[in-house]
Amino acid sequence: MDFRLNEEQQMLQDTVARLVRGEYSFEKRLEFSETELGFSADFWRQLSELGLTAVPFSEELGGFGGGGVEVQSVMAELGRGLCLEPYMQSVILGGGLIGQAGNDRQKENWLAGIASGELKAAVGLQEPQSYYDLNNVETRAEKNGEGYLLNGRKAVVIGGHCADLIIVSARTSGNSDSADGISLFAFSPDTDGVERRTYPTIDGAKGCDITLTNVQVGADALLGDEGQAGSVIEYQAGRAIAALCAEAVGVMEMANELTLDYLKQRKQFGVPIGKFQVLQHRMVDMMSELEQARSMAILAASVADSEQSDERRRVLAAAKNVIGRAGQFISEAGIQSHGGIGMTWEYNFAHYAKRLIAINHQLGDDDFHLERYAALLQAS
């Protein structure tokens, strides 16, 4: 048994780490976050030039068929830098959905662009009433002579504000919470009837709600078979969960490093506050939560690209549950150990804390995944 990265994986991770260190200082991140785009177009271009946006794709698309571990290497470093670019949304989730469900033409049209970073995809799977349940879809797609007519609203689409391609789930048949009857559609956000309400998010990124009013798309917008997208969405959301777990580990590493440094530097009562046992033990707990999270992120990466099974489902639910809990613990314990300074915008710790809480609200929080896991306890 060997948990080390192989040489290529290590090189990959080092490349991303160098890039993030060079380009993503905390001050620059605050600037990127304030722009209309909400991230750095230049950094995105560099990710693409180094082939990093192509990591999970095939060689024809300029990638090297990277699996869960390669994605993990990239995401962990993006997490350490609190990078705002829509890597997970476009490359992992958008690229994944098209790669799994798209026909040859759709792949030809879109995958090369996503892999090269020229085309940014955003994915809308949630709705105002859906909570985290991706089968809860009320957006309707009605078949007509020219293709489909879409009506409904997709909630909290991170990266949707600047996407060149929007992928949404919509119901072609079935009840509003049934896994059957869900279809996927990919289209330009400039299509008539698409309205985006853009907002910043608590963790410094940007997203939007997308209202679809009589949006007419062609038959070629349908990704995969009509009504059969439920399992595709579940599978690709699983890959995205593994990616988020990896990112979270990077965020936690930095949060812990910053806290430990502070415990050594900050003096009160004539000694470094790290001399107080209550803070020592809390720091130890932060470290062990990180190790729990790291183990689960590794496990999640190892199943991210394997065939769907109840075991894969269980692992991903477990990983997201652990990440959610560990993330909240590290966020709150870290702020507390910093005292007032941990509450400020100007110092970087709070931004790590906010990202950790935000990750818990993406693709299901710890409670949601605990329930999923419990429901799978007895499945073979």
Partner: protein
């Protein structure tokens, strides 16, 4: 044992309710209940209404314009005002510096400052903490050197809540460096408009401007602004801290936040049902409500003992820890209740004047920000670690 209010106390509660029904401005209550931003003007408008009723200065003797409420009456006021959406009173003038001036100040100070606090003419802020002196407050370094009729003040205060609105600051300053830390501190009242004072905002993690840094460069403060004796400020500060600590448990505010959470959870949907019918979420709410019930009774026990002539001691430290944990747990649940909508931060919706369409439930916008902002509850007013140190020393003898 009798855990019920007396007939007089019930009558008082009716009186409070009648007053709030009639006099609390609806727009202000709406802001408080919806967790929107309050302006300085909102605070002052409400203060004037309270003053007219004679209910603003509940810690003061009647001769200075205070009202003589029993601890139970204060408690009733606290509960009802949280329920009705009364703005949190800005404590620095009326509940902090005023009791110090009343107990330790001279007549001239009482005559000058107390009426100005009642009228809202002076807005006070608290200048205790410094960059190097947080939990270890007594290590503060801001210097005040006597020069004829003045003190010359140099140094820096930080975390000064609402200092941007204030025209007066009460400061702990070092007047003697030759003695033990606690023994060389004085209590000074400083006009914020004095040359040499600079106020710089500190933006908190939720994007709010609530705290500030205050810099002092050769600031001339008349000696008559010294409260009590030189070098005795630590005694006055400690007197004030006991005032600060009671009430920090925030039981009334937790009750209001809990009732908001329950409304929220009965509107938000999960699996096609209101969240409050979801087994795991309803149990989470139940657990925090049970904890709050227990803390509320503990609070009443402290109040009853104070009513009987006792002094709130380290028990209030214990209650501060519990109370802040409970409020933070409620904030955590409110953020969880909105699921994916915890992510958007639509700042304009925090403004009561906002008349656009709400992205989600109209109460969703402030919930994540509030969760983050209230991490402060376990840090300020003596961090929860410091409170536990006090309990282990004072009660347990460790």
């Amino acid at each position: 044992m009798n855990m019920n209010y007396t007939a007089e106390e019930l009558a008082f509660r009716d009186e409070v309710r009648a007053f709030l029904d009639e006099k609390l401005p609806a727009d202000i209550a709406a802001k408080v209940k919806g967790f929107r931003r309050l302006s300085k003007e909102d605070h002052l408008r409400w203060q004037q209404i309270l003053c007219k009723q004679g209910w603003y200065a509940t810690h003061w003797p009647e001769e200075y314009g205070g009202v003589k409420w029993t601890p139970v009456q204060k408690h009733i006021w606290d509960e009802e005002s949280c329920r009705y959406g009364v703005p949190r009173s800005i404590p620095f003038g009326v509940n902090m510096v005023a009791p110090v001036i009343i107990k330790f100040g001279n007549d001239a100070q009482k005559q000058h400052y107390l009426p100005r606090i009642l009228s809202g003419e002076d807005w006070w802020c608290q200048g205790y903490s410094e960059p190097g002196a947080g939990s270890d407050l007594a290590s503060l370094k801001t210097r005040a050197v006597r020069d004829g009729d003045h003190y010359i003040v140099n140094g820096q205060k930080t975390w000064t809540t609402l200092g941007q609105h204030a025209n007066m600051i009460f400061c702990l300053v070092r007047t003697n460096t030759e003695v033990k830390n606690q023994e060389g501190i004085s209590f000074l009242l400083i006009d914020m408009n004095t040359p040499g004072i600079t106020v710089r905002p500190i933006i908190t993690l939720d994007g709010e401007h609530e705290v500030n840094e205050v810099f002092f460069e050769d600031v001339k403060v008349p000696v008559e602004n010294l409260v009590g004796e030189e070098d005795k400020g630590w005694t006055y500060a400690k007197f004030l801290l006991t005032y600060e600590r009671t009430g920090l448990a925030g039981i009334g505010m937790s009750k209001a936040a809990l009732s908001h959470l329950k409304q929220l959870a009965s509107r938000r949907m999960k699996n096609g049902k209101p969240l409050i019918e979801d087994p795991s979420f309803s149990q989470r709410i139940a657990k925090v409500e049970i904890d709050l019930t227990a803390a509320a009774i503990s609070n009443l026990r402290i109040i009853a003992s104070v009513e009987g002539g006792g002094v709130p001691g380290a028990e209030s430290s214990m209650l501060k820890v519990k109370g802040t944990e409970i409020r933070q747990a409620i904030n955590d649940l409110a953020r969880r209740a909105i699921g994916p909508y915890a992510l958007p931060f639509v700042e304009e919706e925090l403004d009561l004047a906002y008349d656009g369409e709400f992205l989600s439930d109209e109460n969703a916008a402030p919930l994540s920000a509030q969760y983050f902002n209230n991490r402060k509850l376990s840090i300020f007013g003596g961090s929860n670690e410091i409170q536990k140190n006090i309990v282990s020393k004072m009660i347990l003898g460790l």
